[in-house]
Symmetry: C2
Subunit: 344 residues, 2 copies
């Protein structure tokens, strides 16, 4: 077992080296690198040339040490549910976040939190302030992370609020409105027994979708039948089981509003199992208008929320908050819209 020879990979030039080469002081180089206007054209040119010649790249660690900025933000996804590929919502958030971040000079740290151990690790990480800010999606009512962020006074933006009184900045979609539109659509098409498979109700978004469902039924003067409401968890499996349960409880139902596309895909499977045709026998509507909505059979009518846009917006809010850490929290609602396909 021979030890690999300690090779020194061509030590990178330092600020000091650039200064020497350009015949100026360290301060001047620093000013050029950081775009300060208080540098003469001549000095700037000399420095820029030296940087070019030496291939100088600033050492971020040294910079961080003195500025205590990290130039990185974390996107935290509590992935306790399933894996990323079956949750297009998260992928779209990531896409949006990454796209928006490309304009800035911040790096994106992706943190998937699967269990308690990983949550603790994240806690230590945030406590060490190893990021300038945090984006947090899929927040549940009792999630301890938002409070930690508040306590640490770490700039943060939530994707989806915990409640209507959410103190932190957040971006969310008009969940109740989307649900209302979906259910109205079903009623307008003559459906009379509209069921719903909810998401996890400890998430405000899921609760709002259920509320929207109820509002639309109430508007139309339909009696509230709790037998038509079954609880899911946004997953496909939840949708399948929820649908079976609904069919057992209310065999006469003719429509179902699902809290996510995945849920709807599961419902579709359960309906196929028992030979109910979609949309003839039962109309189905999903939520998110994610990529799965286009691949199911039949393709899903779904409430579109601008997921990628939400990611972008979250970054914008976070950058603002990082720029001026005063408590200027901002909360933004994005519109939803019904995309009609064949399932309803």
């Amino acid at each position: 077992m021979n030890r690999a020879a300690q090779q020194q990979p061509a030590a990178r030039p330092t600020l000091e080296a650039v200064a020497a080469r350009a015949g100026v002081g360290r301060g001047t180089v620093s000013r050029v690198v950081n775009g300060s206007p208080k540098v003469s054209a001549k000095a700037r040119a000399a420095v820029e040339q030296a940087i070019e010649e030496l291939g100088y790249v600033p050492n971020q660690a040294a910079r961080s040490l003195v500025t205590s900025r990290t130039d990185a933000i974390a996107l935290v996804i509590p992935e306790n549910v399933a894996k990323l590929s079956s949750e297009p919502y998260f992928s779209d958030i990531i896409t949006g976040v990454s796209a928006e971040l490309a304009h800035s000079d911040l790096q994106l740290l992706l943190v998937l939190v699967r269990d308690e151990r990983e949550r603790e690790r994240l806690t230590r990480y945030l406590t060490a302030r190893r990021v300038d800010g945090v984006l947090l999606v899929s927040v549940h009512q009792d999630d301890p992370l938002p409070e930690l962020l508040e306590r640490l006074e770490l700039p943060a933006v939530l994707g989806g609020r915990r409640s209507a009184q959410e103190p932190l900045s957040y971006v969310h979609a008009d969940n109740a409105g989307g649900a209302r539109v979906a259910v109205r659509h079903l009623l307008a098409r003559g459906r009379t027994a509209v069921a719903t498979i909810t998401g996890p109700l400890d998430m405000e978004g899921a609760a709002a979708r259920l509320a929207g469902y109820r509002q639309a039924l109430a508007e139309a003067g339909m009696p509230a039948d709790e037998g038509l409401v079954v609880h899911g968890d946004f997953t496909e499996r939840g949708g399948r089981e929820g649908m079976r349960e609904l069919l057992a409880r209310r065999p006469g139902l003719d429509a179902v509003f699902c809290a996510s596309d995945l849920t709807a895909a599961g419902a579709l499977q359960a309906l196929r199992e028992v030979g109910r045709r979609v949309p003839q026998d039962v109309a189905v509507i999903g939520f998110d208008d994610s990529v799965v909505a286009r691949h199911t059979e039949p393709p899903l009518t779904s409430v579109r929320q601008p997921t990628e846009e939400m990611g972008r917006l979250m970054v914008q809010l976070l950058l603002e908050e990082i720029a001026r850490p005063g408590r200027f929290r901002r909360q933004t609602v994005l519109p939803t819209e019904l995309v009609v396909r064949e399932s309803a």
Copy 2:
């Protein structure tokens, strides 16, 4: 516009503070924090208590400055194709990488490279050695990144090699073998005109799948008909257009092997357009066995590659390479397997 008061958020305790409190020197605290065995039980206990009481968390920037380690690695995805949510492959890689990384104390930087500007930014970033290592997936033949990584002597692992002579470490699936098995399956079921829609052939994986297709046909003594080969790009759109092209060229085809599930999904659409039934008229096989394979109508028979596992393995190789930067490159092939569903 009043400027927010400069508040100082409870200055974090330093190593020095811990040392003072524990009544030991800085060196001892450092040793405890870094798990050195050369500390007496008594000193260790004192330090640990002080750390606890003070809520000490090491400053990573200061540590990086002297060790020139960052404790972070980058996962680079050249996302020039489409968005993440429609590419389950990438999501699964991310899932695997993140899961494996949870065992270590490294952080995951996700870098999506969309255009030339972002590639340059990444180049600067890597040049500044702001990560300890790099995972690079979806490498094309002419991708300049691998060479940059070699030049920088930055530990790196590729997901998919550039060629059989790949000098860098990599993990890849047995693409040719998978393709062979798929095509054999079709032939064994009596299909006589088996077409293929390839991936981008400047990727070794795609080329290997095409080679496997050809091998299986040759084995069976079938004449090679280049009219049955059409070029795609792993996308759904490519699959749709490729299938249309194939139908125009060889109306009599009765099977098609697609280089990805997405491609197969597109092919399915094109077949449906012209009323061909799957699998009765045309059998279809995909590749990846990603989440879309289960959602198409009919569900796709597909060659499974252990994508998540590949992500995990990439991390393992990278960690090894970071641990001893000697040129111990490792190259690993993972098996593929045919998952039979209804489309073939």
